[in-house]
Symmetry: C2
């Protein structure tokens, strides 16, 4: 196998969310047990923007952008200056540390675009990168694509809040072993764990001590459940020199169809990201950028209501899965749950396909998030509540049917 | 300088179209001659979508996509199936060879996105890539970014149509020297030259003989001037096995603010491109994709009128530059002219900045397109005709002012 063939074999996207439609179901016939379980189809691989509609005003903002014409179609590669100024102000307020709109922020095609550019800016052949396990699947794929080497950092997430968290001794060992970059999401995707203040502070300290570049994906940090706190790494006492924070309005705000993300942090890194964006896709779609004018300017009470609705769905799903005996961590933020299934008579990949075929339920296999979580499945529960709960019951029924 | 530093130094985007706004003009004071020349500001670095508005119906198509909701927000990574089916049909008709919408086409964030994915799919450390000089600046940058090696192929463009063209003996020599990929634009950016049937046929033959992968950027192939013909490489008698053709509605159709491109060709290459898109930006903005429903379905006569308007501007600019004695090739298609300026008392980069400062005219320096075209400038003449002609006269006046 040539180097390029190996590189693309590593990028297998067959099980990636949204790609299931390309699968062929013929080979499942020999293992199928029982009939189809009726019920409304639910695609837990991503949020349902029909159940949770885009921020009020987003469509009108796009239309105003279109009407602006050339100035909105051809922005700087890092995004329209006026929009960056507004977003930088909001993000400074939200995270508790200043953001220079001229040099420290870039608008990207989704947070996926931001992650790609951030890792592309710092990972090269042989760069050692510390990666949480489990964490967002693209992190590992990106590091491999750029030729980097992964140093895994285990995440504990099935215990009490003060036992849970990333293994920071493993992170320090990785630093000693030459790690130059640490990329992670908090709230963690897929477990919904928010890294606590102690962990975040120690990460900042380790970065200072070992000259580590930090890339923090805070995509879900606005969707924080009752009683939970959030520590922004960029507002730490020892603010890391080389830090990029990533956010975007695709999730809580349901603006995914606009493909918008932002990265903010060290000017030198943002500058590299813009240079890379110039050859990757030039800029986030010009007219789409205008929808960012609604971000952090949602109507009074809108965000609180959205959080409460998600919390209710989370509680329902936790109750269903725990009653069935599936170990499931309590998501502190975001819209993912990551139940662990008992041993099954079919492989996890086949089970996930059977779920889709027989129960009308699409989930993302745990193998996408780390090599050690193959028995878990990830659900994005930003869905119609009734449909989501019914689908969770079908998952439980399917697990019973295929138990080893 | 570390490998990454070198890589990003190569990606310098300071002179890239649209980025001039980030430049500081203080250092020009010592070389300035004369006053500001009044006149309406013209940015020739890209087309003016206010002068040439987006295709009728594009805005309504976006709105219908937005109303579709989740299905349009979360398409397959390669784009919405129904839209691909329609676009594949149109492109098969336009290029004269079939396109399978399921496996042979991907929708990307602009044609820049398509180029990035296509080169990312085939260029790795040490891959030898034949590149036309001059050609679109991102081609060279992309090859370097992926670690490839550039084998330059000179383009003759100042002579008669049968003398002009790429040096195909140089291409054959490159093949013998191990070139695995050949990427080029036709119509050529920046000269507007359309590669003739003889050249295209020989390229197809060389590809077959040397197992060369071909990436053809046909972005401007719809904007073809009177009396010109166009040969589609993918419709050649020896249709290349490994071929990706790139097009998009950003130019002639002025849909740049939607960020849409398409790549179509060999299923194995399109598959790799989708895998790469999955980690780069997931997909072209979902709602934007809906605007492709207007593509190749423009109102009767609309495209003919648009071509005629551009041809009139081309003729005016050629007349102005030739009267001033600047060697300027006749663009056969597209909206670029690439006049060669006489020797100046300031460097070409400084002259381009002075043009912006004193004449209100933005152009792209020839050094972006090859190391041998530093005395030329590129103009995208998709502009208001009167403003463009007045700006061309100011360029001539500025050249006189700064003559060596």
């Amino acid at each position: 196998m040539s180097n390029l063939e190996a590189k693309f074999a590593d990028l297998g996207a067959e099980n990636a969310p949204g790609q299931e439609v390309r699968q062929n179901a013929d080979d499942l016939k020999s293992v199928v047990r029982g009939d189809v379980i009726p019920g409304r189809t639910v695609d837990f691989s991503h949020g349902d923007v029909d159940a949770f509609a885009p921020t009020p005003g987003a469509r009108a903002a796009w239309e105003a952008g279109y009407d602006l014409g050339c100035a909105q179609a051809y922005t700087e590669y890092r995004g329209a200056a006026e929009i960056r100024a507004d977003v930088a102000r909001s993000l400074a307020g939200f995270t508790g540390a200043p953001v220079d709109p001229v040099d420290e922020l870039i608008i990207t095609p989704g947070t996926q675009g931001a992650l790609f550019l951030a890792l592309g800016a710092v990972v090269d052949q042989g760069t050692k990168v510390a990666i949480i396990e489990p964490d967002y699947f693209a992190n590992r794929k990106l590091v491999r694509f750029f030729g980097g080497e992964i140093l895994p950092i285990p995440l504990r997430y099935h215990d009490t809040p003060d036992q849970n968290g990333p293994n920071l001794d493993a992170l320090e060992a990785a630093c000693k072993a030459g790690a130059e970059v640490f990329v992670f999401s908090t709230p963690n995707n897929p477990t919904g764990q928010v890294f606590g203040e102690t962990a975040i502070t120690r990460i900042a300290d380790l970065a200072a001590q070992y000259d580590l570049t930090l890339i923090v994906d805070q995509l879900y940090s606005r969707l924080l459940y009752s009683g939970e706190g959030y520590t922004h790494l960029r507002a730490c006492a020892t603010r890391p020199d080389k830090l990029v924070t990533i956010m975007g309005p695709s999730k809580t705000e349901s603006l995914s169809g606009f493909r918008l993300g932002v990265a903010f942090g060290s000017a030198a890194l943002i500058d590299r990201m813009e240079k890379l964006q110039a050859i990757v896709s030039l800029r986030a779609a010009g007219y789409s950028q205008a929808a960012l004018k609604t971000w952090f300017h949602e109507p009074e009470g809108w965000m609180d209501a959205r959080i409460a609705q998600h919390e209710a769905i989370r509680d329902d799903l936790l109750a269903v899965f725990r009653a069935a005996g599936f170990r499931t961590a309590t998501s502190q933020a975001g819209s993912y749950v990551f139940p662990e299934l008992p041993e099954l008579a079919v492989s996890p990949e086949v089970f996930v396909r059977l779920l889709r075929l027989q129960a009308g339920v699409t989930v993302t296999p745990g193998s996408e998030f780390s090599p050690h979580t193959t028995s878990s499945i990830r659900l994005n529960f930003s869905q119609d509540q009734t449909a989501a709960v019914a689908a969770a019951h079908r998952i439980v029924e399917m697990v019973k049917r295929y138990c080893a």
